[in-house]
């Protein structure tokens, strides 16, 4: 049973963590708490209120300008265009934020802490489900909810994955990142957390492909993931 990071009732402390794990989790826990202190609301609520309206603006606004009324196109100033581009990025990109660096098949990736619910060690096998896509590593009970664990490498860099889905379901990564009550992403190792200001990222305001890659951390040369976009991509591919 994986251990949640946030302080929980005594129920959550079922298995004693190894000393090294405790140290890492203590650090991560404190960082997650630090992020949570400012907005006094649950993360799920925070994610919903911050991110969803932005995604809608992105798609609809530019189409109106360029297709319906060409005259309006001339009226769009450079400043307005910049505003549209900026608004295509999630809200958390507008201010300094902490992010977690982790490893997937030897590739370093980053995910912003504000969108993470918890980080867990993979202690028990996930329940494999029949007739699922290759990226589906199984279902795991987490805080009384059934979450689907996604094979992150299979989704974002299928060109690097050569093993069969069955093999990867048995030989998965060591940790998984829980995003919400339904989704978690596998990873091979947790590295560290760092604080980032928006100027330290090369943003991708327009993302015709790899919508989940919201930018690149310039100093670390690693991709910053937009997990919500990745979940949307997965869900849309299932329809």
């Amino acid at each position: 049973m994986p251990q949640p990071l946030k302080p929980q009732s005594s129920k959550s402390v079922e298995t004693a963590l190894a000393e090294s794990d405790e140290a890492v989790y203590s650090l991560l826990e404190s960082l997650l708490q630090e992020v949570e202190e400012a907005p006094a609301q649950p993360l799920e609520k925070l994610q919903t209120t911050l991110v969803e309206p932005i995604a809608e603006q992105l798609v609809v606004e530019p189409v109106k300008v360029f297709t319906e009324t060409p005259i309006q196109q001339e009226e769009v100033t450079e400043t307005q265009l910049e505003e549209v581009i900026e608004s295509s990025l999630p809200d958390w990109t507008q201010q300094p934020f902490s992010c977690l660096l982790f490893d997937v098949e030897g590739v370093e990736l980053a995910v912003p802490l504000p969108v993470l619910r918890s980080i867990d060690v993979w202690r028990t096998p996930a329940l494999p489900m029949p007739a699922q896509p290759d990226w589906h590593l199984g279902v795991m009970k987490h805080r009384d909810e059934n979450i689907v664990i996604v094979d992150t490498a299979r989704v974002i860099m299928p060109e690097k994955v050569t093993e069969s889905p069955e093999y990867r379901r048995k030989h998965h990564g060591s940790h998984f990142l829980v995003i919400d009550s339904q989704w978690a992403f596998s990873c091979n190792a947790i590295k560290e957390t760092i604080k980032i200001s928006p100027e330290q990222v090369r943003w991708r305001p327009q993302r015709p492909n790899r919508n989940w890659a919201v930018g690149t951390l310039i100093d670390r040369l690693c991709i910053l993931m937009d997990t919500e976009a990745l979940i949307k991509q997965i869900e849309s591919e299932q329809k």
């Binding site: 590739v107 990736l109 860099m157 015709p208 790899r210 890659a213 040369l221 991709i223």
Partner: protein, 160 residues
């Protein structure tokens, strides 16, 4: 006499090419498009990138995409060694790096010395071959960097 020379120069301008090696061949690219030549340091892979994109590098605070020129040219990949270089070029308003086996020299060439290359490949693979020239008894393949990638591929270079 001097006027004749000027006219001759105008009709047949001289260009400078930076030459580099890939496998056993020498290639030339317009020196005006070359920003700098770097030793190969850390190249970070980009998940989900096209197969010819090797990764990204940090060039004085700017993220630059590096193209595996061998892969783009349909040649087998090779290990990076001490001679390998990243040639940082500017083309189609994008700055990218191209990984080459080694950088040779800068040569002067008149445009008239560039012959059209026999087109034996398909249109896709040969579109960036501007022609061939003979320099010091050696054959030089002149590359049109602007046609190294398609318009859409160039646009994507800034998005890794």
């Amino acid at each position: 006499m001097s006027a004749d020379l000027d006219e001759s120069d105008n009709n047949d301008p001289e260009i400078q090419l930076v030459t580099f090696r890939l496998q056993d061949e020498t290639y030339g690219i317009n020196v005006m498009q070359v920003q700098e030549v770097l030793r190969v340091a850390e190249i970070a892979p980009v998940p989900g990138a096209p197969h010819y994109v090797l990764g990204i590098i940090n060039l004085r605070g700017n993220v630059v995409t590096v193209i595996d020129t061998r892969t783009r040219f349909g040649l087998p990949r090779s290990e990076i060694n001490d001679l390998s270089r990243i040639v940082v070029i500017e083309s189609e308003a994008q700055v990218v790096g191209i990984l080459v086996d080694s950088v040779a020299e800068v040569v002067d060439l008149h445009l008239s010395e560039i012959d059209s290359a026999p087109n034996v490949g398909n249109e896709e693979s040969s579109r960036y071959i501007q022609g061939v020239a003979t320099k010091d008894s050696n054959l030089l393949i002149v590359v049109d960097l602007n046609k190294l990638l398609s318009e859409q591929e160039w646009a994507e270079m800034s998005m890794f």
